[in-house]
Each structure stands twice: as C-alpha cells, then as structure tokens.
C-alpha cells in the first residue's frame, strides 16, 4: 500500500507528524520555564516555603518535558535537509542564518544553564541559581523568536532577491527578513498560546488536587496563579488572534477564505459561517449556519464591505478548505472556553469561593490539556492554510522535496511513528504520574538516585537541599 503513495505526500506527513509532536513540548516548556522563574523569584523575595516546594515540583516535570523537546527538536533541524533538500538549498541563504542564530543565542543558552538549574542549587547558591533559571526561560523565548521568524518569512517572504542559480538571497537589509510582515503577530500569538497552555496545565493539576483536598495549600497556590493567567491572558490572546487574522487577510487572503469557508465572493458584505460542511468539489458549504454580514464586520469593520472568495483564486493555488475550516473552529472554540474559565474564576474569586466551587475545579481539570489541542489546531490552520506553498507564492511544496524514493520515506515515517508513540507516550505517562502526586512541604527536586546527581570532592556540602524548610517528610514519601 505504501508504495502507491508518492514520496512528497509521505514527506509531508512525516514533517507534519514530527513537527506536531515536537511542538507539544516547547508549547509547554516556554511557559513552564517562565513559571519556574516566577516561582523561584517569589521564593527568594518572600521566603515562603510553598513557592520553593512548587518550584521543585514543577522542575521535575520540566526536566522530563525539556528532554523530550530537545530530542524531538534535533530531528527537525535535520529534516529540512533529509526530506526538503531543494527547499534547503534554495532558501538556505535566507533562513539558514536565522536558524543558526537560534542555535547560538537560544539553544546553547538553555542547554548551558539547564544543568545548573536542575542539579546546581547547592553548588552555586540561590542567586546564581535563580539567574540560571532566568537564562533558561530567556532561552526558550529567544528560540521561539527565531524559529517563528523563519516560519513567518516562509509565510510572508520579504527582503530577498532571486539568485541566478534559483536561490533566495538576502537583499539589502536583514531587518526586512527577520521582521517580515506576519512575524510580530505570529510571535505574540504563539508565545501567549504557550503561556496559556502552561497556565491551563498548572490550573488542571491544581484543580485535581483541590478536588481531592480543597485545603491543600500548594494546590490552592497553583490554582490561583493559573486562574489569574487564564482571566488576564485569554482575552489578550483573543485580541492578538484577531489582529493576526487581519494581518493574514492582508498577506494570505486565500487562507482566510478557507478558514471562513468563503467559496464565493461577497460584494455586499460576507456572512460569518458558524458551522457547516465545506465541500471543495462543489465549492459550497452545506448546512451552513451563518450570521449575515458578520464576517465583513469582523474582518473589515464594515458590514457591507466586499470580501473576495476562493472563486478569485486559481484552483491549483487553493489550500484544502475542509481541514482549515475545522481546525480554525476548534482553535476558536477552545479559546472561548478558556476565556469562560477565566471569567468564571474571577466570579468565584469575587465571591471568595475560588477553592470551593467544585464545578469550576472539574471544568479546569477537563480544560487542563486544552492548550495543546488549541495550539495544534492553530498550527494546522496556518500551515495547511498556506498550502500549496512552502515559500508563499514563490516555491511550491511539490517542488521543495528531496530526491528520495517513496519506500525510503515510508520506512522512516513508520519508524518515527512507532518510536515517537512509544518513547513520548512513556514520557507523557511519567509526567502524568508526577502530576498525580501532590506537592509536599520540603519537596525534593530533580534527584537522580540515592547518591544525588553529582558531587564534587574537595567541596564541602553546600546549604541543605531545601534551605528554609520547616517541615520534613519521611524518606520514601518522595518520587522514585
């Protein structure tokens, strides 16, 4: 069966699979690294033990997440060459340097300070340790900066000239390449998404432990912090998403047409299709539930503004409408649900019932993994929506691939699927198991074996592992 599929489709499936799997980890670790910096900062400032306990608790989860993010990310940095060699050769002079900057300014920063962050508290002291945590958090953000610049350039390419050998070459200014038109919007929207994803994971874990014991002080702190994030950041994200959409309308109108399900042009105001079954063959949306003129109102701020439809785009340049239409609605629905949780928590807080309303806790628990679904749906929207191009309007996906035989790509795809589900499935299981235990007073950090992670001779033991701890727990109460 696999021999019948063409190599390019297989390569696309492989890239979609590996990049989707990978993105789960940074979507979580970008936010979690910042959360850890906040927790450690609060601990240093207030001296309150609960912040330190929570820091240690989430640090263990961060270590597992980060390891999976690293190994799945290396796959991507080589997959451009293995599977998309023509793209790499032609776009390399422009995007290669941006990716090199990502390695130089972000990956080394994260990796260099991670060891100290995980194992070095008693070796370097609190302040230097806090600095290391901040460097790791900064690294995750800088990494997002560069890689989103690359992605945005592929979506809205600017600042280049075409070389005689078919390569895209940098033009006058690198500024035009790095800060291409869709980059600021994509950066803001994606980084906020990562923060929201983390907030809902933390909130879900807090809710889980509140449901078991509503007096649990650690669960209360986590839940309260997460709900503040949800209440404040979810509305900001919806606004950022709206601005990103307007930017897309300007630069990639076909993507918006697919998201909206607008097969036909509407000269007198376009309706907002809430639901329906898009059908590319018949170029219509069956059973459409619409609000007249609302799409023009949202996108043009004028109910009667004309909006072009996919009938203005040649068929060979249209994205697959069915996928984009649905992935967009999934993302928006989750975003609205996040907003709902945020508002609900504000109400509960105002009534001083934040730790008592069981249904709020149940809803927050259900919404725990919602951020991952939302970012995945969002990326599907933007990536499928820019098809059939790798470099928008200039280089087709079909012309970007490596000269590989289908069986070679099929084999590697099968290998990736098996290994990723087995390895990252196990890792996710370990993370869930860590989350299922409540943070304890005197929580221990990333502890590798009975002998401690690493110890140098000639240096007397530093401060105890949990300086300032007031209570102790019996041995064996901790994680393995």
């Amino acid at each position: 069966m696999l021999q019948d599929l063409d190599a390019i489709l297989l390569a696309r499936i492989q890239f979609a699979f590996t990049v989707s799997f990978h993105f789960f980890f940074p979507a979580f670790s970008i936010g979690l690294a910042s959360y850890l910096a906040v927790l450690e900062g609060l601990w240093l400032k207030t001296g309150e033990q609960r912040y330190h306990d929570l820091f240690k608790y989430w640090l263990k989860i961060f270590a597992v997440t980060f390891a999976m993010g690293v190994v799945s990310g290396i796959v991507l940095s080589y997959q451009f060459g293995t599977n998309w060699a023509v793209f790499s050769d032609r776009a390399g002079p422009v995007i290669g340097p941006l990716m090199a900057y990502e390695v130089l300014t972000a990956f080394f920063l994260e990796a260099g300070f991670l060891g100290v962050m995980l194992f070095g508290m008693e070796k370097v002291g609190r302040k230097l340790h806090f600095a290391a945590t901040c460097m790791v958090a900064l690294g995750t953000f800088v990494s997002a900066f560069w890689i989103l610049s690359v992605n945005s350039w592929m979506q809205t390419p600017t600042g280049f000239v075409m070389g005689a050998n078919g390569q895209f070459l940098p033009g006058e200014s690198w500024w035009d390449i790095v800060f291409n038109p869709s980059f600021p919007y994509r950066l803001v929207h994606t980084v906020i998404a990562a923060y929201l994803t983390t907030a809902f994971v933390v909130g879900g874990v807090g809710a889980w432990h509140l449901l078991k014991d509503r007096t649990n002080p650690h669960a209360r702190t986590m839940f309260s912090m997460a709900m503040w994030m949800a209440a404040i950041v979810a509305p900001v994200q919806i606004l950022a998403g709206d601005l990103h959409g307007l930017n897309t309308l300007e630069h990639q109108p076909a993507k918006i047409m697919a998201m909206e399900g607008h097969f036909e042009s509407h000269p007198n105001g376009a309706p907002l299709i809430l639901f329906g079954i898009p059908d590319s063959e018949e170029e219509t949306v069956h059973y459409a539930v619409e609000i007249p003129k609302a799409s023009s109102l949202i996108l043009k701020h004028d109910p009667d503004a004309p909006l072009a439809g996919l009938d203005t785009i040649p068929k060979e340049n249209r994205p697959p409408v069915e996928v984009v239409f649905w992935s967009f609605r999934v993302m928006v629905a989750i975003g609205l649900a996040m907003l709902g949780i945020g508002m609900w928590s504000l109400l509960a807080r105002a009534r001083r019932k934040l730790y008592d309303w069981r249904w709020l806790h149940r809803a927050a628990l259900v919404m725990g993994p919602s951020g991952f679904a939302a970012v995945l749906a969002g990326w599907i929207t933007t990536e499928v929506g820019r098809q059939p191009w790798t470099i928008y309007g200039l280089l087709r996906t079909a012309d970007s691939a490596s000269p590989l035989d289908a069986p070679a790509v099929a084999t590697s795809l099968v290998a990736f699927v098996i290994v990723y589900f087995a390895v990252f499935g196990a890792g996710t299981w370990y993370i869930l198991r860590l989350m299922s235990k409540s943070p304890m007073p005197g929580e221990r950090g990333v502890k590798h074996g009975e002998k401690g992670p690493i110890r140098t001779s000639g240096i007397t033991p530093g401060p105890t592992q949990n300086p300032g701890r007031r209570e102790t727990i019996p041995d064996g109460e901790d994680e393995a």
């Binding site: 597992v64 980060f66 390891a67 999976m68 690293v70 190994v71 990310g73 290396i74 080589y78 451009f80 060459g81 060699a85 050769d89 032609r90 390399g92 002079p93 290669g96 340097p97 990716m99 090199a100 900057y101 390695v103 130089l104 990956f107 080394f108 990796a111 260099g112 060891g115 194992f119 070095g120 070796k123 390569q167 940098p170 490596s402 000269p403 590989l404 070679a408 084999t411 590697s412 290998a415 990736f416 290994v419 990723y420 390895v423 196990a426 890792g427 370990y430 860590l434 590798h448 074996g449 009975e450 002998k451 401690g452 992670p453 690493i454 110890r455 140098t456 001779s457 033991p461 393995a480």
Partner: protein
C-alpha cells in the same frame, strides 16, 4: 580580503569537532554502560554527564544548522545521500536523550531505559561514523542534487568508519570516566580504556590506509609534494600521542588519558582536512561552490563573533560547577 567561505569552513569544522569530542564521551559512556555494575557504578557514570549532555548535543545542531546556513548546497546533497543513516542517528539520539530522565522516573523499567541508553548511543555513534565514510567514499551529484540510490552509503568502508567511531567514542567515554570516578568503577573504566584504545588505533590505521587507496585523489593529497611535508606530521604525531596515551593509562593517570584521547581525535580531524580540503563533497562540490552569499556569511559571522565567546564562557562555567569526582555522598 578575507575568504569568508574558508572562515566558515573552519567554523563548521570547529562545531563538528566540538560535537565529536563532547558528545563523543557521552555516547561512549552509553556504549560502555552495560559493562558497569547496576546501581552505584551506572548511576555515577550517568550522573557524571547528566548536567552537560544537553549542551554537548547542541553542537550537533550548530553543525547541522550552520551547514545549512553557510553551505546550503552541501547540506542539501549530503543529507538525502545518507538519508537512512541520518534518520537512524536521530532515532538513536531520541532513545539516548530521554533515557537520562526516564531511567530515574521509572525504576521498574530501569533495565529497559538502560538498554535504550546503550542502543541509542551505539546507533548514533555507528551512523555518525558511517556518514563520514559515505562522504569520503564519494557521493553522486547531478544538477545541484544527490543523484545516487538510497543504499549507496552501505559498503565495507563505511562499516569500518562506523566501527572506528564507536571505538573512538568508547575511548573518550572511558577516559572521561577515569577522570570522574573513583575506586572499583574507575579501575573498570581504565580496563575498558585500554581495550578501546587498542581498538581505536587499529581501526584508525585500517581506515586511514583504506582511505588513501580509495581513489587517486586521496593518495595524491597525502603523498605528493609539497602537501606530504604537512601531511606526514599527522601519522607521526598520532604515533607519539598513542604512546603517551598507553603510558598514561598504565601509570594511573587521572585526567591525562582523556586529554590525550582528545588529541587523537584532533589529529583525526586534521587528517580529514588533508583528505578533503577544499572539497565539502569530495571531488564534486568545493566549499566555494556550496557557500552561501557573502551577506549571509557576514550576518552570521557577527552572531558567531558575539555569541561564541559567551557560549564558551558559560559552557566552561557549567563544567567548572560540576568539576571533580562524582562522589558518593547523598543529600542530607
């Protein structure tokens, strides 16, 4: 005028060398892992690299990302040519990398993750060596793209280079552990280092002779005047370093065997330079053919100039923080 392509060839070579020696000892520990006793020995061996392995592996990303940025054509030719090897290496690194965390999180399956650690390290080392072999034995190129079949990389020569790399990494790993461990575990590491050193040198000689007789080009580069005057130093120095290494191992040296093993790798890299320069894909694509435009090279060079000293400084600091023996005291 400075030849930026030449500068970038040295930067990429430096990144590859940094990767090979730094992740080399990580992978070598993985390869030798089953020979260490379950419990304290294995835990200490892994803990000796736990804080630094991630940074070490980042040099591989710089090597790959830097190649794409500075020599996109070479990146676009070599990776499809060695496709199954690269995929196998990446999957090996997946298993190796997660094992660092997973073996502590799941004691019930520790044996399984220890196996993943070893198998992943072995596969990554073997495939890295085979990629080098596939590059040296020649890659078919037509019209800016790889033109061979997807099994061209599998030959006796590439198997030899692959095994040579496994042995070399085992040497780096065992000498690193001599430095970081104490007592019986250190004695064991020393015994393994002897064996690894013998295997490494035997395979190094075999690969070198095989390479020289692969095709006329390599023979000429090594034995024609005037390059022979420089080239001849490489085997000569290798022999001296090898002698010092065995003496260091026999006399109970602590850090010296590791540094001498590094020197061996450096000479291997120099030998590689003699064989390949100025080609990046032997006899097909020179560094100037593959080079990115000057604007890309300058833009990145600014980045390297600013960040590399910082990277080396904080990486050095991280090693310094975790310096000395991996001891046995627990937390109290």
């Amino acid at each position: 005028m400075i030849d930026l392509s030449l500068v970038w060839a040295f930067i990429i070579a430096f990144a590859v060398f940094a990767y090979v020696v730094m992740d080399g000892f990580d992978l070598g520990i993985g390869i030798l892992f089953p020979s260490f006793g379950v419990g304290e020995e294995r835990d200490s061996a892994m803990n000796s690299i736990a804080p630094v392995w991630d940074g070490n592996e980042t040099w591989l990303v710089l090597g790959g990302g830097g190649l794409m940025a500075a020599f996109p054509l070479a990146y676009a030719i070599v990776l499809p040519a060695t496709y199954p090897l690269i995929i196998a290496m990446l999957l090996g690194l997946v298993f190796r990398g997660v094992a660092f965390e997973f073996r502590w999180r799941d004691p019930g399956h520790r044996a399984l993750w220890d196996l993943a650690f070893t198998a992943g390290s072995f596969v990554a080392a073997l495939t890295q060596g085979m990629v080098l072999g596939a590059l040296l034995q020649g890659i078919e190129v037509a019209d800016r793209a790889y033109a061979g079949s997807w099994w061209d990389w599998l030959t006796p020569y590439t198997l030899l280079t692959g095994l040579g790399t496994v042995a070399g990494y085992a040497l780096l790993g065992s000498t690193w552990l001599i430095w970081k461990l104490e007592g019986p575990a250190q004695d064991h590491a020393r015994r393994m280092a002897f064996r690894a050193a013998i295997a490494t040198l035997a395979l190094l000689v075999a690969v070198s002779l095989y390479t020289v007789f692969l095709g006329g080009q390599y023979f000429d580069r090594w034995f024609s005047m005037p390059s022979v005057l420089f080239a001849a130093n490489v085997p000569l120095l290798t022999a001296i370093i090898a002698f010092l290494l065995f003496r260091g191992l026999a006399k109970g040296g602590e850090a010296a065997p590791f540094w001498l093993s590094l020197a061996l790798f450096f000479l291997g890299m120099a030998g590689l330079g003699v064989s390949m320069f100025p080609y990046i894909v032997p006899d097909q694509v020179t560094i100037w053919d593959a080079a990115a435009p000057e604007s890309s090279q300058i833009f990145m060079l600014i980045g390297v100039g600013i960040t590399m000293p910082l990277i080396l400084a904080y990486t050095g600091w991280a090693y310094w923080v975790f310096r000395g023996k991996v001891g046995h005291e627990g937390y109290h």
